[in-house]
């Protein structure tokens, strides 16, 4: 019974087709649908160009994002140097590390982020910056360190920066004033501090006073 005999099926088929004859889709409805279709087809803005426009906008946004990412490096302003003048030194500098940006996962702790960015920055500097050395006198003031180069420059290093710096083994925390060799990047950034046996001889100033204020606590 599932499959009707051919004659049964043929008869039902012909009866059904005849039953359909008087019930055709109204012509007005056909026309209306075609008009609607043509209207969609001709709409210049329509969804097609909207789609293309949105694709273009998204493409531009992605390009801008990429460019800004290339321009902006999370390590770029990690190391901050604030420069001021003083009566005793030609220049006084305050070196500190800025708050690490949150480009890295927030699940990574602040200290870890800082260390990671610091390493990245050091690697970049090794490749891009000319490095030079200077003699200086180091004075440890609790956690903050002060470096002086005659009366030319005083550098104050923050505790966090000291923690990241490459320190020679002979530089021990809490030790008094000592002569050190600084490894400096072209932008003035301190890269490393090593103890040295050499002593820096500063030229006399016009006023005749001792050039290195640090000598006061050296002796």
């Amino acid at each position: 019974m599932n499959k009707p005999t051919p004659s049964e099926h043929d008869e039902l088929q012909s009866l059904y087709q005849r039953a359909k004859q008087p019930h055709k889709m109204p012509t007005a409805l056909k026309r209306q649908l075609l008009v609607q279709c043509e209207a969609r087809d001709k709409q210049p803005g329509a969804w097609r160009s909207w789609w293309q426009l949105s694709q273009l906008v998204m493409g531009c946004a992605a390009m801008l994002l990429l460019l800004s990412w290339m321009q902006w490096s999370p390590t770029a302003d990690l190391y901050q140097i604030e420069r001021t003048a003083s009566a005793d030194y030609l220049q006084v500098q305050y070196h500190r590390l800025a708050e690490p940006r949150t480009m890295l996962s927030s699940q990574v702790g602040r200290e870890e982020r800082l260390q990671l960015l610091w390493q990245r920055q050091q690697e970049q500097l090794q490749h891009t910056s000319s490095i030079h050395t200077r003699m200086a006198q180091l004075q440890q003031q609790e956690a903050n360190w002060q470096l002086t180069i005659c009366n030319e420059l005083q550098m104050n290093l923050s505790k966090e920066l000291v923690a990241q710096l490459q320190l020679g083994q002979s530089i021990l925390p809490g030790r008094g004033a000592q002569w050190v060799e600084l490894e400096l990047a072209a932008n003035g950034q301190v890269l490393a501090i090593r103890a040295t046996e050499q002593v820096l001889h500063c030229p006399q100033t016009k006023a005749g006073r001792l050039p290195i204020r640090a000598l006061a606590f050296a002796g």
Binding site: M1, N2, H23, K24, K30, L33
Partner: protein, 186 residues
């Protein structure tokens, strides 16, 4: 203004027409599709509802064809897709109007009995149409879809039923029709 009918539309099957329409969105391809399937769909909906609702659902369905032309899968049959959308829309509307699976409509029952004075073919045609109207909704649906040329598998796909369920409905529908047609032959 509108190019109806298109001479070449008859040479392409609905699936080919749909592929062209899918790519271009041009009305000439939709025109071809309506020429091919429009009457069949309208008649199917009319038998399952009333003229106003049939027109409404028919329009909705063709608008969906325009809107969803990109979601049509090239490996499926256009007419199956079309009837499937129409059937879903019809059921939604009947449920909304609380007419879903109510027994046959009163206006259908009010159809005049076949007059004995009519010629045999005309009387048989009328008996067929009357019997078709008296069939339960789901059986009539299965039978009409089969008479539209859909296979059991395609009917199952359109109605979201198992093949066995469709076969059962077809069996009951045919038995009912044969009985109605046969009893007057005796």
């Amino acid at each position: 203004m509108l190019s109806i009918p298109l001479s070449w539309a008859g040479t392409l099957c609905p699936d080919q027409l749909m592929q062209h329409y899918q790519k271009t969105g041009a009305s000439k391809w939709l025109d071809g599709l309506i020429q091919h399937c429009g009457d069949d769909l309208y008649h199917f909906l009319l038998r399952q509802s009333d003229p106003a609702l049939a027109q409404d659902i028919c329009q909705q369905t063709w608008l969906k064809v325009m809107e969803k032309r990109h979601s049509f899968r090239a490996d499926s049959r256009f007419k199956t897709w079309l009837f499937s959308m129409a059937r879903n829309a019809l059921l939604d509307e009947l449920k909304r109007q609380q007419r879903w699976l109510s027994s046959t409509c009163p206006e259908q029952l009010a159809q005049p009995e076949v007059e004995c004075s009519q010629s045999w073919p005309v009387a048989r045609q009328q008996r067929f149409e009357q019997a078709l109207r008296l069939l339960p909704f789901l059986q009539r649906e299965a039978l009409m879809l089969q008479l539209e040329g859909f296979s059991v598998g395609q009917i199952a796909s359109i109605t979201n039923e198992l093949d066995e369920t469709v076969k059962s409905r077809l069996r009951y529908a045919r038995r009912f029709l044969q009985a109605r047609l046969g009893e007057h032959d005796e």
